[in-house]
Structure formats: C-alpha cells, structure tokens
Symmetry: C2
C-alpha cells in the first residue's frame, strides 16, 4: 500500500476491500485519518476527539468497532504499556517502543535497533507469538 501521502479515495476503497469491510462513510473517514505517511500511536478516545474536531460525525462505539475491525484485518496492532488504557499502532511491522511516561507518548524503535543475542529457553508446549520490548523513559 502506498503510504507516503494521504490516501486517495480509490486507495481507501482498495484498503476496505482488502479488509473485507463494506465501504461506509465512517470507515473511510477513519482510514483517511489513520493511514498516511507517518505511523501513529493513539487511543480510541484520542481518535474520537480528533474525528469530531475534523467535523466528522461518529460515535465512540463506531471508533471502537472500526479499530477492532482494522486490527483483525492486520492494519493496526495494539500496544499495552499502561493499566486501563490501550494504544493502537499503525505500524504493524514487528518493532519495539519507547514510552515517555511523563506524557504518555509512544515512539517506535525499529526491530534492528535492538539486537537480542540470547533468548531464554521457551517453556515446553509453547510457541512465541510476539516479543515486546518497552523502554520506559522519564524526562530530565
């Protein structure tokens, strides 16, 4: 998918088709807000506020529904760094995070920026699903 600019209408159509989701006003608006050049980390409520500010009429329930649908389609992933709050991430490549605790900001760390040379033995009967590295930061 092209990602070096705002998506065109036909690119949004394609995105929703690929995700096997019907083309609705709300899904198109959210797709357009989310899938631009830069990756983003955000919560459902932040996105809701942003959509309303942009003049879109969309309920919080639809934000949640759509985010989960995008996630099932592999367009978003979740990041858990704080109790009682879920971040969504447009970067679906395996990667890691800085978390600036002072203001709740997440920053990407490319996978190759953290070189892990030794791994512990995995418990029997288990497979690795994912490995998260979270580097928690405080501002000086």
């Amino acid at each position: 998918m092209v990602r070096n600019m705002v998506l065109t209408t036909s690119e949004i159509d394609k995105l929703l088709d690929n995700a096997k989701l019907r083309h609705t006003k709300q899904r198109a608006q959210l797709a357009k807000m989310l899938f631009k050049a830069e990756n983003r980390h955000f919560t459902a409520e932040q996105l809701h506020k942003e959509a309303r500010t942009a003049g879109h009429t969309i309920s919080l329930a639809t934000i949640y529904n759509t985010l989960h649908q995008f996630r099932s389609a592999g367009l978003l992933r979740q990041v858990i760094v704080e109790p009682g709050k879920v971040y969504f991430d447009t970067n679906t490549e395996p990667h890691h995070h800085f978390y600036i605790e002072d203001d709740g900001e997440l920053l990407d760390v490319e996978r190759n920026e953290v070189k892990i040379s030794t791994l512990p033995e995995i418990p029997k009967n288990c497979n690795i699903r994912e490995m998260d590295v979270i580097i928690r930061l405080r501002k000086k």
Copy 2:
C-alpha cells in the same frame, strides 16, 4: 531479607519497620502470604480471594492499599501485560517475563537470559527508567 522459607513473626516486624509501615493484622497477614521462598505474580483480586480462603478477614480496599504501600517501599513491582488488569510481582530485581496468553500466567526470565547487545539512541532530555521485555507465548 531471608526468603528461603516462610517469614517468622519477627521478620515480618522487621519488614514492616523497614517499610515504615505500622504493624497491623492485615499487613502482617499479607506479608506472610507474599514474601516466601518463591517469587509470585498475582492480581489484587487473586490475592483477596486467597486471603479470604485462608480465613483472613480483609477488604479488597485494604488489599489495594497494602499492595501500593508495599510497592512504594520497594517490596513489589507491577507488570503490565494486558489491558484492564495489573499484575504485582514479588521479584523486584530487574528481570523480564514470559506471558502465557492462554491462561494469563507470568513467568520470570532472569535478566542475564536476555542479552541485548544494541540499544537505540535515547531521545534527548530523557533517561531510561526501566526496560521491559515481554515474550508472549501461546500453548501448542
């Protein structure tokens, strides 16, 4: 602190003294439940249920109060791996975790079992507070 057995009454006294907490029945009961030979990972509600089962009369509010006090005293740390739920950990050494997603179980990974040879550049004006590695597992 001795940790290769159940704590004696005087060891619990010492633990509460060090934490600058008054010696109450509830705090002593919880300390005795928590600080044994093996480290534990648990939620507040799990601990509440366990305390009631052991015949102790203690409210959930006191469980939360005490866990936070123990944490401030450096006797416990929190682990965040799932939305809407906080795990407490009696292992306060820097270390990492396996998280078995199927049954919500946390397992310790010693710090030296994960060798990290390259770290990304830390954003300006920030210091590392902590680094968490969570290896998410699924049962075969």
